[in-house]
Amino acid sequence: MVTKTTAPAAPTIDPWPPAATSYILAVEQALGGVDAEERQDLLDDLRTHIDALLEEEGDTVDLADRLGAPDDYAAELVDSAGLSTQPTRRGLLGSLHQRRQSLAASPRMVAAGQWLRQLRPAWWVARGYGLAVVASILDGGWVGKDEFPVPQVLGNSLTGLVVTAGLIYASVEVGAGRMDTSARGRGLAVRILSVVAVFGLLVQAVSGSNDFYPEPLDGGVYGELDLALSQLEGGQRALTLPGLDPVTNIYAFDTDGNPLQDVLLYDGVGNPLVLQDVTDGFGYPFDRFGLETDYRRDADGNLIPNLYPLTQYRTSQTGELAFDGAPPPPEGEQVPSVSREGRTRPVPEVFIPPLEDSESEPTTPSAGGPQAGGSGEQ
């Protein structure tokens, strides 16, 4: 047998008259004993044939009159095609099968099927997009709302756009029947890829609805925040917002609203005020997912965890540094001065490590020293 190409026939009269769909379903039912692949080919031929009839003779063509009763048509097909039929299912399974078939051929189900068929182009587009999402995941990246509407591929949004557009195009071509998928292997591949695409869409839906990234709270720099201390693993305490959301950075300002650099912060009993568990056991800071901090080090190479503001970067899906979250206040805007009643603060007796690259001398916080006129966190 020589095959150049084959492809399933896709009806173009849309929507089909319910009578046409019912006729095909009835023939399909009558062909129940025929090998599945052969049956599919015969039904594809019948769809194309009916499509041509509808085009030439109009929607009102009486198919039963023109082609004969569905059972007769099927019997003639089987006979002329020299096909052998398997005995049809009997017993409970057989009756269930028949009931399902007759339900599928009922006008209401046919109408519902036709309505759903109108949504097929949307599914074709979604399938292509879902595959692009999976391609992005396989590429080592991750997908989140930051990258909507196009997932990155090869760490690049442009590549992602091209891949997404290509996959959507291919999906639509396959769905519309313009791409050859009739070979058994290809049909199976389309089904598998459709399942994979659904997975990609689910991942996109989940990652889009949940906040995987801790967003630095730039907008809350000047806000009144009810800070709380929470216990980290290892007994360390860190600042958190109500609800235990992490405070990721602190910016200090003088009473004139000027941002202060290289400020060492301590709590009331002299413990360094840290925002996260600064070591992971290997001498490196443990960073939250999607956020990296460059801690400064003292002359001995030890991390200084409470030197603010921290230099932080958000990381992209590919691990590239994507955003420097440093400069807080917009130009020209100043934090309103806050008059504070002078009161004695506890003086922690702590050793402040000298800063190698800082011009300011290490100081011990004192009650009379300058206090931050306002502070916030990002």
Binding site: V2, T6, E38, D45, R47, A52, E76, S80, A81, L83
Partner: protein, 109 residues
């Protein structure tokens, strides 16, 4: 005698002959058979015959996109199909000669 009974035995030959003239899709084969005088030929018989000849290797198929409708699956004769047509044509010629002779015997008696 019903023509449909006669058709049963010669539809293969008729379909092969139509496709020898030019490649065609199912609906087109049916139309050309009817234009040739075989009004009684059934739609399902033609599609079934095409499928059987295709499975037997007498036909190949290819898809041609159509602007006005769905993709059309065209059938074409393979070398094997051409051999089959040639053989069937000789059988048919011999058969009709013999039948004509027999029928004439009846009329001249």
């Amino acid at each position: 005698m019903e023509i449909t009974q006669l058709l049963r035995g010669v539809l293969d030959l008729a379909v092969l002959a139509v496709l020898e003239e030019a490649d065609a899709y199912g609906y087109d084969v049916l139309r050309r058979l009817r234009e040739g005088g075989l009004e009684e030929v059934g739609d399902a018989s033609v599609y079934g015959t095409l499928r059987r000849l295709y499975r037997a290797g007498a036909l190949s198929s290819y898809v041609v996109p159509s602007d006005s409708g769905p993709n059309r699956k065209y059938y074409a004769l393979t070398d094997s199909g051409k051999d089959q047509l040639e053989h069937s044509r000789k059988v048919w010629d011999t058969f009709t000669d013999h039948m004509s002779g027999i029928l004439e015997m009846g009329t001249t008696r």
